[in-house]
Amino acid sequence: MSQLDTRNQDKFVSTETIDGEIATLNLGPTHPATHGVFQNVMKVDGERIISSEPTIGYIHRAFEKLAERRPYNQITPITDRLNYCSSPINNMGWHMTVEKLAGIEVPKKVDYMRVIIMELARIADHLVCNSVIGVDTGALTGFTYVFQEREKIYEMYEEVCGARLTTNIGRIGGFEREFSPVFMVKLKKFLKEFPAKFQEFDNLLTRNRIFMDRVIKAGPISAEKAMSYGFTGPNLRAAGVDYDVRVMNPYSSYGDFDFIIPVGQDGDTYDRFIVRQEEIRQSLGIIRQALDGMPEGKHYADVPSFYLPPKEEVFRSMEALIYHFKIIMGETPIPAGEVYHAVEGANGELGYYLISDGGRTPYRLHFRRPCFIYYQAYPEMVKGAMLSDAILTMSSMNVIAGELDA
């Protein structure tokens, strides 16, 4: 018990220093442990952090201004690059926002297909985060095991949309094509073999004495503070609050599936790790349920003014040619109005606030990015902690630079 007691950060927040000297340490934008470019200027007393001031914006790419220039179907590649470890979730969220604004109802089969792809993306993102927590404690083996599994998920994305990482998957109104038989074979093989490989990774870290001593009580946060700082997603659930957008405001037929929301206690790094591990297992369960219960139907909604007609008809019929031309040129009949839609991204509530004036491009598109909002609590979480715990806290919060800066 003694080594865990020294973690008590409240004891060490005092103005007395070890030798009367406070050093300024720059955990700069290029650093092996900051996964992404953000800077922290820390005032340290020996190994204890007294205060820290983050600076972000080193990869600000002006997504919101860029979105005002592009027609609705050309914004999907931009949403890819928000949380690029789980880009399908961003794509699907955007399509659902536009469908909500335009009043498009998609068939249930599209909902189930979307759920399968989104849960695969969630698994991929959590695998990166957990293996990187391992790397930051020095356990590099888990990283190599886990990235091999991510390659299988990449292969499945390639079957559906052709790309590995920044997928631009799906279309407004559904999917561009049915899931191919090769995809189904790969998915079933994944569902059969992944749990055993995942258990190997789990065995390396979860009950490993050294890992536990390292991450328990590192960077804790209480539930009230987390809620006040705008936390959502696994970071909030590790603090003990069971808020999940899939349950609170179900979208894409999530109400049909049976899954539990794992919740932690202290909000420290170990809880965040365990919550993500359990969410991977729950996602596997959801994919199985979606695959077993996949309804019959078309893979797209019947909205010719938004969804490209098949090429054979474009070459033969006049209406299809006109629709094709208008959609490609961006002249889609989006009504004027404003809508806010949120999906449960891998990091929390990813929201899209879209204001349209009836034109080709959005009038205003704002992304409610979970990483940006919960990273502001970082100075408070590491106050009084040791430097190595601060590194672990940062990597366990899963800060993706693309989502931080947008």
Partner: protein, 180 residues
Amino acid sequence: MVKMVDAPQGIEGQGFFATSLGKVIGMARANSLWPLPFATSCCGIEFMATMGSNYDLARFGSERLSFSPRQADLLMVMGTIAKKMGPVLKQVYDQMAEPKWVIAVGACASSGGIFDTYSVLQGIDRIIPVDVYVPGCPPRPEQIIEGVMKIQDLARNESLRRRNSDEYKKMLESYNIETQ
């Protein structure tokens, strides 16, 4: 079945092997490039996949990733470089010791990519000299490996006097990089 690097051409005899110094040094440099992964965004995740066990970059001699510029040979810039990040990139490049190579991975590093906006640097070759460009958004790991292989070709065939020549010094001055 392990593939070894071929020995350079030379005269061989009992207990000695004579070849030109440039060839030996070129072979040593090309097969032990230590990269500095300057990964900023999505291309960085593809780099992590390249370093993983499926597309292993370590077989090309890049086993040890160095995050300190002082100990790295190859600066791999992967991802969008914003104008705020430009001075940081220049400083990292300045800190590297000669000989050094730069590879721009991805469309954003090569030319700004899809982000033709007020805050993104339209290509890192505006601030540092680049040897190899790898296009793609993000490029597949095989493409990144091909880019590293092209750097290996450059390193193998480079003249030993290139870094001290006037032409090289003039090029560095055109980027406002100080030379001794």
